[in-house]
Amino acid sequence: MSMRRVYMDSNASAPLLPEVLEAMRPYFMESFGNASSIHHHGQQTRAAVEKAREQVAKLLNCRPAEIVFTSGGTEADNLALFGMLKPGDHVITSVVEHHAVLNACRELEKLGCAVTYVGVNAEGVIDPVEVRGAVREETKLVSLMMANNETGVAQPIEESGEIAAEADVYFHTDAVQAAGKLPIDVQKLKCDLLSISGHKIHGPQGTGALYVRKGTLIKPLFFGGNHERSRRAGTENVPGIVGLGKAAEIAYAGFANGETEGLRALRDRLEHAILEGIEETGLNGGAAERVPTTTNIHFDHIEGEALVIALDLKGLSVSTGAACSSGAIEPSHVLTAMGLSPAQARASLRFSLGKHNTAEDVDFALSIIPETVARLRELSPVYKRQRVAVSS
């Protein structure tokens, strides 16, 4: 049964762009050499890796030598944290970070580091003053995400970078969800470390990079060869890196050529139509600065999980953005930190657009979301009780 499928979950994985696949293709079959080999085959792939490095450096406005290729955003975050900290150090981060940062911090605490997790306001934004207030003698690193994966909310990174610089501590930002959506200039941001992920910018899964400012001494996670200037051992994933580079190039061009702004228009239309057309809905993080592609909306009195499934069965792929760990499903730590009740957090859905999405996709989504929400509410005992309470 072929049904129309519309994909609005790019914050989970953004579909590979055809140009990216074309760029990668020769590196599977024809150019397969180990980029460290001295012969012709190695030289070919070495050239491709270095070209990709330049493409990524351009996206971030840094030197190619400052780019370390990794297996993804998680590895980049782990490298930044474990690479910079030792027992006794203090690190400042936030409660809304991705689990790659949060769980790495929890592990660091077990190993003898101290961690401060600054909170967020109702819009999901940290207060840089709180960051400054948390700095103490043992503080070595501040790690704050540039944009949140669930809500798209952007953090005050420039201000935080200033604070870190003044306090003479290192500054890492997880820019996995910001790359390609918000312009990034590591010089302006004053960050020392920055993580990106390939599959969030329409590149291949299993690729990513960590920007490491020249002069920043970082301990590697893996031991083996001297790859990536002895910062990340392991034979380069050449096709993957080539894809990441091409995706970075396309992401960079997207700002100048209006593609990214075009997505903002689509997101805004989707968001307004839902908020205005469906009762008892609300935007999570709406008053904050956000990436242009993401909207996180709570649909009160239903289970978000059931709505995601119902929409999936009708051909629309979205997510609840809730974390799933070891079989137990926890309410979103991000939405909880923003003050949403457990019921509202569970009733929240994330729609995240990518370069593949069109106006027709938004039309399709709007043609099925209202009736689906209505059906869920009609069958929801909670909604019925609430209606009775309101009308009496």
Binding site: I309, G327, R375
Partner: protein
Amino acid sequence: MSGSTIAVAMSGGVDSSVVAALLRAEGHNLVGLTMQLWNQKRLSGYEGMPEQVHGRCCSLDDVYDARRVAETLGIPYYVVNHQERFEQQVVRPFVQEYLSGRTPVPCTLCNNHLKFDELLTTARQIGADSVATGHYARAEYHDESGRWRLLRGVDASRDQSYFLFGLTQEQLSRTRFPLGHLQKSEVRELARQHGLPSAMAEKPDSQEICFIPGGDYKKFIDAYLEESGAPVPETEGELVTTSGEVVGRHSGIEHYTVGQRKGLGVATGSPLYVIEIKGDKRQVVVGSGDELYSRRLRASKLNLISVADLHEPMRVTAKIRHRHQPAAATAQQIAADELVVAFDEPQRAITPGQAVVLYDGDVVVGGGWIN
């Protein structure tokens, strides 16, 4: 057929997997659902609770198995979270029943409140009309009475109708039990025929309570109470005979069930059994085997299925627990929510908290909770 969708409740076991395979072969639109009901690791840090849990209901292993079956059959599959409701409607009452000196039947509560309530609501919300499960039971519409009926599964050794006595007409109208007409041996053979993973056809049946890995309900209750941080209720008390003589002390009424012989810690000439548990006095009454027999019981929180009421006495066979030969009795509803069942022959260890389920041949008349 193509209009309606059936939600299959999939546990990862052979029964529900065969249900999915059979319905798929009949050409139905299906969606597979597994309910996430209990975090198996939640109490694993407490004394006596196993660390590693594999292959228990809604563990990752079971979800994996269910997902593989769904993939093999080409049907969409989802895990849905109903943990909060399960704890409220099944686990907490389970603990409270034991603390009150009663012996609960959690599987029935799960059926009433989760499988045929929450899950049915979710199924309808996502566009399905009905839920199919692997229960060995039959549901059918009876034209003459204009009622939906529940019947025993034809495989008497597997019949699960006892646990389903709480289903309403609405629930039964939206339920399918494709295995009710089959023997368990046939079901395993069907698993092989439909190309389900071979390890599945051989999977042993689970006998335990799904949320108690290892089966030690006493340790579970202790761990659950400790975790809750609430002051643990005092439940130790006196062991008394049926004539009121105090013969010892017991460690907590929740550790006992009617008919129990072991663990009494009292040495006498003849075997002693738990005859009754007096929750309010925290006493466990012990006596000889003969004293366990009784002819009458009262039950409440009734649910009637094949009939609308039992104001007129009816001849039935009745089960007082799942593993019990249905015994001839007369049942009558003496008040809106009170049933009296008088057995022809004395029955052993009638236990408050268990369900009494009434049968008219293979048809489930209804049932209630024993007082």
